[in-house]
């Protein structure tokens, strides 16, 4: 993978996006170094999910530019497929393939996209299932697992492709409260290993614990970005303070 001199992993410059006449993102600037851990928060409808979905091209944008590992994003299938090989994504609803077993979910892209031999792909998949601590579920179907387990499989499925960046789109929002912790712990493990992470979440405790920088968005703009110590103790903007008051209780 091309290492740019400053080891920038994701670079968003002056990015704007409209749904019809409605501007959902305005002049987003964000630069993420390799190994950095970013938490994005903000009220619903602030455009935070849309922003990270732009990073792997699930959403097209109209203005500005996004560079991922030195490759400039464009809505061309060759570029998108190349970028997506380096970017893992975990969704709110897990989005596992229900007709495939846990192991097959993990090996699918390895064998089809990366042309890894089957035995090798299964070895890799089992290694990552072990990493998310559910190796014993490999033969089951997603429908047989709890939400927390499914989300950990989804994380393992992305990790199998050994991405350089992981995107998390509200990974714990549709989980029962007792399962949130197991998923957050898995993500914290990843952070420990030096994975570049961009995570949209409302889990402020998690942000405090692992983030290098917290980003607050509202109405399609980045309002504030700061290390968690400053962000939580001494936010600069009134809007940030209001938001924090609401989510911290």
């Amino acid at each position: 993978m091309p290492d740019s001199p400053v080891a920038r992993s994701v670079e968003i410059e002056k990015m704007s996006k409209w749904f019809g006449d409605f501007q959902v993102l305005s002049d987003i600037d964000l630069s993420v170094k390799q190994g950095e851990r970013i938490v994005v928060c903000g009220p619903s409808g602030s455009g935070k999910s849309t922003m990270i979905r732009c990073i792997n091209g699930l959403e097209a944008f109209q203005n500005g530019k996004i560079t991922v590992n030195g490759v400039e994003l464009a809505q061309k299938s060759r570029v998108l497929e190349a970028v997506r090989k380096n970017v893992g994504m975990v969704f709110q609803q897990f989005n596992l393939f229900p007709h495939l077993t846990v192991l097959q979910n993990c090996t699918l892209a390895l064998t089809w996209v990366h042309k890894t031999p089957r035995a090798e792909a299964e070895r890799i998949a089992r290694r990552y299932l072990e990493k998310v601590r559910i190796p014993e579920q490999a033969g089951k179907y997603p429908g047989q697992l709890s939400g927390g387990q499914q989300q950990r499989v989804a994380i393992a499925r992305s990790l199998c492709l050994r991405p350089s960046v992981m995107l998390f789109d509200e990974p714990t929002s549709s989980l029962d409260p007792e399962m949130v912790k197991e998923v957050l712990d898995t993500m914290a493990d990843l952070a420990q290993d030096g994975m570049t992470i961009i995570c949209v979440t409302h889990e402020m405790g998690f942000a405090r614990r692992i983030a290098d920088r917290v980003i607050f968005m509202d109405q399609g703009r980045i309002i504030e970005e700061a290390p968690p110590s400053i962000f939580f103790e001494n936010p600069r903007e009134a809007r940030t303070r209001r938001f924090l008051e609401q989510v911290l209780h």
């Binding site: 090989k85 994504m89 996209v113």
Partner: protein, 230 residues
């Protein structure tokens, strides 16, 4: 009792015709339906709209009329009567097959189209974000979702097709219903031949339902055979 056995034997003479009507038109209809659904999905706009309208029209017409216009109408066209097509359209058997396949196409293409557009967006995004290309996304996410969404409706449609084959006797095809009807008009016994034929159709539709649910179990969620195919 002896009469019943004699009738049964006579009516069973039409079984192979009924089964061939059913299975041949099922296969042709499925292929045509897949083509029509593909056109409607791949070419949105005018092409898609006009194909949909054509399918809607066919669905609105009684099968009997489709059968009559193919069997009685088409042979009047010189292009049918004076070319190789005559070999096909002079046979009531093949006219029925064409009619059944056309009607099957109209209904099944709509099931396929509906199932395609019911695929959850999230499944497609998951496949895309793993780097799968268009065809791989179809195979991994869309096709399985289509099976999940459309199989029940397709089963109903297959049963309808099977039952529709019974109209073949109106253009002189001697299938199960054809023999039953022949006995009815020859002997004026109404109930015996019709009940025997009904029992035979019941056996066919029950077998068909079992076969389809077996196929579904092979290719859907719980099936490990599907896993090997990947």
């Amino acid at each position: 009792m002896e009469l019943m056995i004699a009738y049964t034997r006579e009516i069973l003479g039409g079984l192979s015709t009924t089964l061939s009507l059913f299975l041949v038109s099922l296969v042709i209809g499925f292929i045509l339906a897949a083509a029509m659904a593909f056109i409607q999905i791949r070419f949105p706009g005018h092409i898609s709209k006009s194909v949909w309208n054509l399918m809607f029209c066919i669905r609105g017409v009684p099968m009997l009329l489709v059968l009559y216009i193919i069997y009685y109408g088409l042979p009047l066209l010189p292009i049918v009567r004076e070319t190789f097509l005559w070999a096909v359209f002079s046979s009531p058997f093949w006219c029925t097959i064409i009619c059944l396949a056309i009607v099957e196409m109209a209904f099944t293409s709509e099931i396929m189209r509906g199932a395609y557009f019911q695929t959850p967006k999230e499944q497609i995004e998951a496949a895309r974000s793993l780097g799968l290309n268009g065809f791989q996304t179809f195979r991994a996410a869309i096709f399985p979702a289509m099976i999940r969404n459309g199989f029940a409706a397709y089963t109903t449609e297959v049963i309808l097709l099977c039952k529709s084959t019974a109209l073949a006797f109106t253009v002189t095809v001697m299938d199960v219903m054809g023999f039953a009807n022949e006995i009815r008009s020859r002997t004026l016994d109404i109930y015996e031949p019709l009940l025997i034929a009904g029992f035979i159709y019941l056996c066919i539709t029950i077998t068909t339902r079992l076969a389809l649910s077996w196929i579904f179990s092979l290719i859907s969620v719980a099936g490990s055979a599907r896993a090997e195919a990947l």
